[in-house]
């Protein structure tokens, strides 16, 4: 027995694994996007590898700079498309399909008990479905493309228990920002986190994805929610293959435990330039912002857009407000249910599904001295533009901020 990470990595490496062991594990699914595929394919070719280990287990979404922002990006993207075609990789999701982490979940690749590795740090998102999922760099991805395997140090695990009903005006984003405040930005380095408690049990898949997505912001290797009925219902008719859920043993050893009662939680804001620089919204209320961004792999799901629309409907934004749905399906649903109209009438701009300006590449890069309230995952110095500040909050906090042009408490509008 052991933690979920120990058991999944043990199964994938063919022998029992304990925290601290080095194992070579079989990878079930590998993902690299337009940003990381360039170097991954280069390394793959330099390794003199010819054919990928299994083209049906490789997923390549175009999301980071899609559609291409200039000729050089366009050329590099064409090379990725050509290489994928040569290799027979059919799971290529081109411009407009959405953010990689949303797509792997929606398309049923993120499943309990699987080992999923992505050439993107937020690949830990798939832990929301009970997978062991982690991010690596391009050369590691080339190794997986070649052999379907990768070395791992089996991580110790922190057990995080979150209990209590989330108060009105708060969301899973506030929970994970609160956890980041406790664990600090390096508090889970080399480690995994398992999430338990009544709050998590009641949380829909969308919220669990937000939680697991941000585990990397504490340095975490994986963030895992044990699969339950919510997970299985989501995967019904969606999972691309059979799967076997993995649960921690009763004797599992945890290196640390954190217990939070969120029944009194207020909306949280991470102030620049660190994700663990977290305060209650009241402390920064009134701070002027130039832009609001609602989207990304962290908070660009239908539930997030609907939450924002709940506040924005019938009101008018006072600053540039960008909405970036995390996938085509989410965008279609937002149009069909009418919330897209509510957002547009409020003065927001809806961009194409993808990463948007989260990493400062395009579609809303900011000027020196400007500030943004974003539902994304990083507020590092210069991330969305040199000299610009990024505040992180929930879609509710972002929407309340949009109609004020200043950071605002969403509870005033609910």
């Amino acid at each position: 027995m052991g933690t979920i990470s120990e058991l999944i990595l043990g199964r994938a490496s063919g022998k029992p694994a304990a925290a601290g062991d080095f194992v070579i594990a079989k990878v079930d699914f590998a993902m690299s996007h337009d940003g990381t595929s360039v170097l991954a394919v280069k390394a793959f070719k330099e390794m003199r590898s010819e054919k990928v280990w299994d083209p049906s287990r490789i997923i390549i979404p175009f999301d980071h700079l899609a559609p291409a922002n200039n000729e050089n990006t366009a050329l590099l993207q064409r090379e990725i498309r050509q290489w994928a075609a040569e290799q027979g990789i059919s799971h290529l999701y081109d411009v407009g399909e959405g953010v990689c982490h949303q797509l792997l979940s929606e398309k049923g690749f993120a499943m309990p008990g699987k080992v999923i590795v992505g050439a993107d740090s937020h690949s830990c998102t798939y832990g929301a479905f009970g997978a062991f999922a982690t991010g690596v760099g391009a050369t590691d991805m080339a190794e997986i493309f070649t052999s379907g395997r990768l070395w791992f140090r089996v991580p110790e695990t922190i057990r995080v228990t979150v209990d209590g009903d989330l108060p009105i005006g708060t969301a899973s984003k506030d929970v994970i920002l609160r956890v980041a405040k406790e664990l600090r930005s390096d508090g889970a380095t080399y480690k995994a986190i398992e999430f338990y408690g009544t709050t998590i049990g009641q949380m829909p898949v969308a919220g669990r994805m937000t939680l697991c997505n941000m585990v990397i912001e504490m340095g975490g290797k994986a963030g895992i929610v044990p699969p339950d009925r919510t997970t299985l219902e989501y995967l019904e008719g969606r999972a691309v293959e059979a799967f076997e859920p993995v649960y921690a043993g009763r004797d599992a050893v945890y290196c640390d435990e954190l217990h939070l009662d969120v029944s009194g939680l207020q909306p949280q804001v991470a102030c620049p330039p660190d994700v663990d620089n977290v305060v209650g919204v009241e402390e920064v209320e009134g701070t002027p912002v130039d832009q609001v961004l609602i989207g990304s792999c962290t908070n660009g799901r239908y539930e997030d857009l609907a939450a924002a629309a709940g506040i924005l409907k019938g009101r008018t934004v006072k600053c540039r407000t960008l909405i970036v749905p995390a996938s085509r399906n989410i965008m279609i649903r937002a149009i069909e249910t009418g919330i897209a109209t509510d957002l547009l009438k409020a003065g927001a701009t809806i961009c194409n599904p993808g990463c948007g300006p989260c990493l400062g590449g395009h579609l809303g890069v900011m000027a020196e001295g400007e500030a943004c309230m974003a539902t994304t995952n990083r507020n590092f110095k210069g991330r969305m533009g040199k000299g610009a500040d990024v505040y992180l909050g929930s879609p509710l906090t972002a929407a309340a901020t949009a109609i004020n042009g200043r950071i605002a408490d969403p509870r005033r509008y609910l």
Binding site: F22, G35, T36, V38, L39, K42, A43, E46, M47, R48, S49, L65, N70, N72, T73, L76, G118, A119, D120, S121, S123, G135, V136, G137, A138, T139, D140, A142, E143, T146, W151, S185, D186, T189, Y190, G219, K221, D274, L359, G360, G361, V365, R378, F380, K381, G382, R383, K386
Partner: protein, 157 residues
């Protein structure tokens, strides 16, 4: 593997966005990354070949971009000494053949001081004093010795 060089000193949580801002990532030319290395935190960063970066905890936190260790390596840095590294940066550095060692010396060094790092011995020497560092497991050392994972693979290992 021994290194001796002048140091560039930074604090905690040096993230990948300041090591190489996102706007420079769309290239396959390593010189582009090297030109903009550390731009987000230190516009004066102009190392000479053989220089060493010394930093606090959680060096390289953030994105999985391998351009971060590549930028530092091709800027001329021979080795990074940090109190700790983020997990993905740690893997990426080994994979691109950039030597790293964990040791806690950033508080006692200033830009331009000279430091020595001994990766086999697992220690660092600063101002004549020896400070303990971590040793890499054997197979990671082999990847580093080969010059990175691509070379290691190509050599048929």
């Amino acid at each position: 593997m021994n290194f001796k060089g002048r140091v560039w000193v930074y604090g905690d949580n040096v993230d990948t966005d300041v090591i190489i801002p996102g706007k420079y990532l769309r290239s396959a030319d390593f010189r582009v990354f090297a030109e903009h290395a550390m731009e987000g935190i230190d516009p004066q960063f102009r190392p000479e070949k053989g220089d060493i970066i010394v930093a606090g905890k959680n060096f390289g936190c953030g994105s999985s971009r391998e351009q971060a260790p590549l930028a530092i390596k091709y800027a001329g840095i021979d080795c990074i000494i940090a109190k700790s590294f983020s997990r993905i940066f740690f893997r990426n550095a080994i994979n691109v053949g950039l030597p790293i060692i964990e040791a806690n010396v950033h508080d006692i060094l200033h830009r331009g001081d000279v430091v020595e790092a001994d990766l086999e011995g697992g220690f660092v020497v600063a101002h004549g004093e020896k400070y303990p560092g971590t040793k890499l497991p054997g197979f990671l050392k082999e990847i580093l010795d080969a010059g990175g994972l691509v070379a290691y693979r190509r050599d048929g290992k």
